[in-house]
Every structure is written in C-alpha cells, then in structure tokens.
Subunit: 285 residues, 2 copies
C-alpha cells in the first residue's frame, strides 16, 4: 500500500518530534519542523546532528551520505502558518499538556488547508480528548511512536469513533512508508498496545520485590530464562526511568499508590532513577 | 556452593518428573524414579529415550555417549519404600491433586529416613497446603521447574515459614548442581515468580484482542519490537496451550471469567488449543 502523503510537518522538535521528523526525511519526505522559538530550533538542530551520527553508524542505508542528505529535506520554522500551509500530514508532538495541545489544534484548524490530516503522538491523552479542537475530527487520529524510532520502529495508529477509515488507512500507509511497523488499534485504548501490556507486567514485578518475595535480579533471570526475552522487568524499569512508572502508579488504585510510595522511598528519593542517573535497580558505569 | 545431596529420588515420571530425573542423572546424580505401576514405568522409559535423543542433539555435553550414560544412573521402581530408602532429596512430581499429594507425603513420612529433604514441584498448590502431611515441615519446600528443563533451566525455590533456611540453601545448591538457575522466593507466592509475571501480562493481551482493540499479530509485533522479546503474548499462549490460561481465568474475577468464556467460544470449542493442536492464535504446519 503506498501513501498519498507527500509533505509532512512535525510540531514540536523535542526528543520524539525530532526523531519523527528526521526519520520521515531519511525516508525521502520533505519535512517542515515547527517549534516555538529560535532556542527551541537551535536545540532541534543539535538533535538532528546527533541523529545523523546515529543513523550513519547504526541504521541500514545510513552510510555514504544518506544520513546527511536527510538534513537537506528538513525545513525549520517558528511560523505555525508556514508550517501548516502545505502539509498533507501534520504530526503533533508538543508537550503532554492538554490545554497546550488543544490550543495548538485550534490554531491549526484555521491555518491548515482542508486536505491536511492531523495526527497526535500523545502518550497519555486519548485522541478523543483533542478531536473537537481540530475542527476536522474525521481527519484526526493518534499515531504513537516509541523512543529510538530507528530501532524500535513501532507506530501505533488509533482513531476515534469519528475518524474516517480511509484516513486511518492512509496514516497506516504513511507509517509503513517511513519504515515503521504500523499497529492498528481499532478502538480507543489508554496506553495503546505497548503500555497496556507493559503496565500490569511491570506492576506484577514490582509487587514481587516490594512485597519481599524475590530480588530484582532473580525476577529478571526468571523472565529472561522463562521467555527468552533479552531483558527482565527491572532492566526495563531502568531503561524507561523510574519516574514514569511512579507517575502512573501514584494516580492508580490503593495498591498501586503503595507501590509508588515504596518506589519513591527506596529508589527515587535516593537518586536511583534508572539507567540515565547511573543507578536504578542496577548500577551502571 | 556445593551440594551435600548425593542421592535423588523423583516421584512421578510424567513430563516434568521424567525431565527432572533425567537432568539430575545427566549431571551425575544417581536417581531413583518412582511411579505407580509397570505401565507408568514403561511410559517413563519412552520419555527417557526421547530425552537421550534431545540431549544428544541439543544439549552442550550431551554428545559422545554422555546422554546415554545418564540412563545408567536411573533406577526405576514401583516400590515407594525402596524409592525413599536412601534418598537425600525426594522431588515430588505427582499429579496436581491435593489429596493425592497429601497421601503421598503421609506415606513418605513413614518410609523416608529422617535426613531426607522433600521438595514439591507443584505449580498450582502452595507448599503450605502440603507441609503438615510431610511430618517434617522444616525439611520441606517447593522446587518448581519449567518445561524443557534442559533449555528453560529455572528452578524456583520457595519454602514455607517453617522451612529451615539451611534446607532452603541446600536445595538452592542442588538446583545449581543440576544446571538450573535457582530463583529464591522468600515468601510463599501462588504462581511463583514466572507465572506471577505471565498471568497479568497474558490477560492484558487477551483483553486487547477480546475487546476488539487489536489483532493478535499486531499485539505480538508490538511486544517483540517494543521490548526485543523473541515472542509476543499470543505466541506464548500457543506454546503453553490455551487450556491452561483458560483454567486459570475461569476461576478468576468477573472480567477474567468473561475472557475465559471468549477464549472458549472462539478458540477452545473450535479445537484451536495452541501449537500442539496445530492451531491456536496462529496456524502451524
């Protein structure tokens, strides 16, 4: 299935936004990247330079100038009108603040041509939370990427009940065109597929350790040996960073809140935040 | 840590019992294998012959006659008194029927010397359910193996509050001596570690499919790509066989019972039982 989409705009050049933009450009699409001011765009340029180095070294087809050539297909702007003017698809990756996203869509609704499809990369909001602000709920859905898009090449595509099925399939085709494996989600689900699986799995693992049943290393050994997975749940915690599951559990049921408190006391308050902090359930050097 | 255990007896030569006995013999232990009658022992001999072929082909150190030599360390008997007479460790792998296991332990209590440690391989019962029948709760615990012991070399070791810590460590050492990775579980937990992780993970996956959110193949793709695992949850369902998770869920809460009913209607009633039946969530040829 080939995509009808020719021009792409990405709103927000943070960690994921810059990856989505760069990956799309690497796969041949002209991409406009919007962020709020020149400082944000300067930070984006640094991210793109790092991505060039990563793609050159790690990504098939990234050598022999291909990684650098992708940069030529990126146009950076702080003008939302310019960013929206000719986009077939706008991927929104602005911060996870409901009102900020809604305001962005309200502005876009007036600026973007009628043809433009809107896709949110939101992790924690449902597209339903945003659809009425878009002015085009039939042409709006979620397309959710995982970090390290060049390696973990998932695009979870999830519409609302108002999303036109043709639009859904068009975005699925675009996801494929930029090298993703599209995951079709046919009804709205908080957490999409990946987090729907990860959350109860990681919680069960934490219950074992917080409850004094087993040590993290033994739990991870069990999962690796029992399922052949490369990493156990506590290795996954450390990669994600402990603050994210903490923030999920602290808003959960009583038992989840107890687990959150345990995680805070024994790890987060001690600066053990996971891989990036040098220590989480394991030490890193 | 080296083990003080010299002689091993395995009660019940079914799928797991025969694997435990053969693996122990392969690692150099003289093993007595008990089952109830000559037919059961004949079936056990066939299992051991298959294990010889598997170990010869797949297991490091299994070639050059080593797999065959393990057979010489196996003694088969239908005499429980003989089986118990000189055992340092008795591993009980009789069918998962509470009264049968309790009766077996009551007989063993009278037949086995005082030195003998008892370990149950029960998946679904807690050692607390059995300990008073053993006559020696301080020398009794669970040591739980996974299927395909030569490949999935886990031994989850779990005592009761009455298990002597020295006995616990002795059994951990034995597990290591027969090539297992011992998983120390310090408080009783139904499902040990592996099933404590697997059950909510598999349930979340089934909710996604039964609820119409996503297809099994997409859910599996998500897990494989998102975590690097070799198999997604529906591939794991097919390997386990769908009847086992069905039997767990049908005794669960309302939502679990609904999932069980869905699984029965759409798969089990259609003969789609998993890998062994040729079809489950996937078709096999």
């Amino acid at each position: 299935m080939s995509t009808q989409i020719r021009t792409v705009t990405v709103l927000g050049a943070g960690v994921l936004g810059s990856q989505i933009a760069y990956q799309s450009a690497f796969k041949g699409f002209p991409v406009t990247v919007y962020d709020i001011d020149d400082d944000a765009l300067a930070a984006a340029r640094k991210r793109f330079d790092k991505l060039v180095a990563t793609y050159r070294a790690e990504v098939p087809g990234g050598a022999d100038g291909a990684a650098e050539a992708a940069l030529d297909r990126l146009t950076l702007t702080t003008d939302l009108g310019q960013a929206a003017a000719d986009a077939d698809l706008i991927v929104e990756a602005v911060p996870e603040i409901l009102e900020l996203k809604r305001q962005t869509y309200q502005e876009l609704a007036a600026l973007a041509p009628a043809k433009t499809l809107f896709a949110t990369n939101s992790s924690s909001l449902l597209p339903s939370d945003l659809k009425d602000a878009t002015g085009r709920p039939d042409r709006f859905l979620a397309m959710h990427f995982a970090n390290k898009i060049w390696f973990s090449n998932l695009a979870e595509v999830m519409g609302t009940s108002e999303t036109d099925p043709k639009v859904f399939q068009e975005v699925v085709a675009f996801a494929e065109a930029i090298g993703m494996v599209p995951i079709e989600i046919h009804k709205e689900k908080a957490g999409y597929v990946l987090n729907t699986l990860l959350v109860p799995f990681l919680r069960a693992a934490l219950e074992l350790v917080a409850g004094g049943y087993a040590q993290p290393g033994d739990v991870d050994n069990t999962w690796r040996i029992g399922t052949g997975a490369p990493a156990g749940p506590f290795q996954i915690y450390d990669v994600i960073g402990l603050r994210t599951p903490y923030n999920i559990m602290v808003h959960g049921d009583d038992e989840a809140q107890q687990l959150a408190a345990w995680l805070k006391k024994n790890y987060i308050d001690k600066g053990k935040l996971g891989l990036e902090s040098g220590q989480g359930f394991y030490k890193y050097t």
